[in-house]
Amino acid sequence: MDDPLVIAGRELRSRLITGTGKYGSPEAMRDAVIASGCELVTVAVGRIDLDHVDEAITDYLPEGVSLLPNTAGSASAEEAVRIARLARAGGLPDWIKLEVIPDPRYLLPDPVGTLEAAERLVDEGFTVLPYVLPDPVLQKRLESVGCAAVMPLASPIGSGRGLKLRHAIEIMVEQAEVPVIVDAGLGAPSHAAECLELGADAVLVNTAIARADDPAAMAHAFRLAVEAGRAARLAGLIEERETAEPSSPLGGLAARS
């Protein structure tokens, strides 16, 4: 496989991971997942409503797509560990997108609770991908306890504002020992391309695709942007300059002296 994304020894062709939330219908989700070309999709774990048992989201996922369960709804390390254990015991993969989010307004993750839960889950044999603020010091701590990747947010979940914390993510990329997957806040394919251009290993996108007028078409656009961003990273971007550097001879045919 040419230039795969490798997480915990597993090779993935696609550097785009998608969420399954916020779609208008499960059919729209399925079509978008197919169009995205992704191999990994996130799901949450929720109680079954015993009075209204509808179809399961998993019935709509295409063949060959793996589930990445998350710990959404956890405000503490304990709750996150509980969800991860329930998911694995019930037969979901032992990969877990760890999120510990006590704050409902900005949905920012708790770094202390995240580190604590990460350590416990790694000890229990999970492959842990924690959702974090772009904090290069926390990144090192999470790497040292054995996390398989770190997932810094670009801007708050669902905000669509793009890479508002770019410089911190650049530091994380520069010092990364496990993949950096930018997760949350990406609103446009150009934001995803920017992440890959600066060296992020992958991106996770949900709202920008699910809430687009045409989710499948937007998923395709993100796929192209991720491929373009990665290709640009490998090609080597030029250095920015303060002044112009002509692309054509300045003299032309006119004599200037």
Binding site: G19, T20, G21, K22, Y23, P26, M29, T42, V43, A44, V45, G46, R47, I48, L50, V53, A56, I57, T58, L67, P69, N70, A72, R82, R85, L86, A87, R88, A89, G90, G91, L92, I157, A184, L204, N206, T207
Partner: protein, 73 residues
């Protein structure tokens, strides 16, 4: 006192549920119409391994959470 013929009442997702003696996690899921669901089960705060659904017998007063993968990011 959990012998044959004694009714067993458990709580499932916060709702009381009367079951027969010898009810297991697997048979409870069937009775709830969840047999075809990819259900995840927690019993008294501890996750139940899928491979043990058929042998895990419910006891009076058990608190169960029945969950599944749902849409999320």
């Amino acid at each position: 006192m959990s012998g044959e013929g004694v009714a067993v009442t458990v709580t499932v997702n916060g709702r009381e549920q009367a079951t027969g003696p010898g009810e297991t996690v697997e048979s409870l899921l069937e009775h709830l119409g969840l047999g075809a669901q990819f259900a995840l089960v927690e019993r008294n705060g501890e996750p139940v391994e899928r491979a043990r659904y058929g042998e895990t017998r419910l006891e009076d007063g058990d608190r169960l959470v029945v969950a599944r993968p749902v849409a999320g990011g």
